[in-house]
Amino acid sequence: MSGENRDLRSGTIYQNKGEHPVGLMNHIVAVGDMKVGANGDTLVTHALGSCLGLMVYDPVARVGGLLHAMLPLSKINPQKASENPYMFVDTGVPELFRQLYEIGGQKARMVIKAAGCGQPLGNSEMFKIGERNYTVLKKLLWKNNLLLEAEDVGGVISRTVYFDLSNGQVVISSKGEKREL
């Protein structure tokens, strides 16, 4: 199981296994980054701990984007946010939608899925960054009349996301097990 993860993490595309979303190109989205793409691309992000992974897809235009945001609000480090809006949920999510509109996506058709937002054990409120990431996302979506189609959030697990832009399929992998979201 771990061997599979290792190869996948180096970006190898499995043409013959049929269990992963396979695209023409695997694009890795790093922590605090975002990528948009079109039919044929697969967007992959690893090691979602307390970070938010947000997958947005327009099934008609067949365009989509994946955001891997680390922290809820940009006010904690405005300078960082101006250099890199994708580090924060409140600046990264609007930017993701903006870029999708630019390549033909339409708001009414967007299918939105979320993953990550985990937290360590214990009852320390201040370490609930994952929960705060999720709350800020929900507020943003609610304000814009958007809904989450599906989510796999919380807990102590670290997640990897495979987002196939030919059909919008999202596969979550954790501890060597994969499930469709």
């Binding site: 360590p120 214990g122 201040m126």
Partner: protein, 283 residues
């Protein structure tokens, strides 16, 4: 079975690579009160490769020194010799810690990136919280998980036992102890003792998951505990066990830690790691 396992683990600790000669000679100087510049130069004179690596680190963006440092002497004058010694140690262990770690499912480079993340996040936290007397915190952060390199293959072999339902809410080092009689923190501490590192460093590694069990409260232990969890949360070197570690409330209150401190450090750590590790790639 536990006794047998423990015996095997102890044997592997015994076989773990020793600290390279130059680093251990420099570490032996750590008790000096005056700068042993001549000794340092003498030790590094016969290690041109190591010296080149160390100077690359000295000139990394992490330290932000504007002029180019070209010699050991200049580096000692500008950064102090204790800092230089830390960087010699970092250069020496990077080769060991760059390897993949089975069991925790860390790919090559993951453990090293996590080590650097905890080192720089610990320094950042100490500064942000105005905690003094933690000169060796960088090294403590760097070495806190070295025990995973020994325990990894045992974790791999006992994966099924370790992932049963009843262990899901237990901090992962407790699960390790239950199965093997020893956790990765204790294994790491034994490796550091074998290397002859100072006691406070050994304690920081030993108690980084259970700071409340330390024989005395130590700021280095508390800060490494927090920096470790933050680095895992932001996905730097997070392994198969994910975030299955418990945050100590005693530590957060001892450090007067607030949400804004954690988030601020999280927002900076990635760039610090990049600034430090980018310099280690040969030009």
């Amino acid at each position: 079975m536990k006794t047998q396992l423990l015996e095997m683990i102890r044997k592997d600790i015994g076989n773990f690579p020793g600290m390279p000669g130059a680093a251990s000679k420099l570490l032996a100087l750590l008790n000096n009160t005056e700068t042993p510049l001549a000794e340092i130069e003498a030790i590094l004179r016969y290690e041109p490769g190591l010296t080149a690596n160390v100077l690359r680190l000295v000139n990394s963006a992490y330290f932000g020194i504007s002029k180019k440092i070209g010699s050991v002497r200049q580096a000692v004058l500008l950064m102090g010799w204790k800092r230089l010694t830390q960087l010699v140690l970092a250069s020496c262990v990077s080769a060991i810690m760059d390897k993949p770690v089975s069991g925790y499912d860390l790919v090559p480079g993951d453990l090293w990136r996590h080590a650097v993340a905890v080192a720089v996040a610990s320094e950042g936290l100490a500064k942000l919280l105005n905690v003094g007397g933690v000169e060796e915190i960088f090294t403590a952060g760097l070495l806190h998980d070295v025990g995973k390199m020994v325990l990894g293959r045992f974790v791999e072999e006992h994966r099924v036992d370790m992932e049963v339902e009843s262990y899901r809410e237990r901090s992962f080092e407790q699960v390790e102890r239950e199965i093997f009689g020893m956790d990765h923190a204790e294994v790491g501490a034994l490796i550091l003792s074998k290397w002859g590192l100072p006691e406070d460093l050994v304690l920081a590694v030993r108690y980084h998951h259970e700071p409340d069990k330390a024989p005395k409260p130590l700021s280095t232990v508390d800060i490494v505990h927090v920096a470790d969890i933050v680095s895992l949360m932001i996905g730097i070197g997070v392994g198969r066990e994910g975030l299955q570690y418990e945050v100590s409330n005693e530590v957060t209150s001892r450090l007067h830690l607030e949400t804004r401190h954690i988030e601020r450090i999280a927002s900076e750590t990635l760039q610090w790691v990049h600034a430090f590790t980018a310099s280690m790639q040969p030009e």
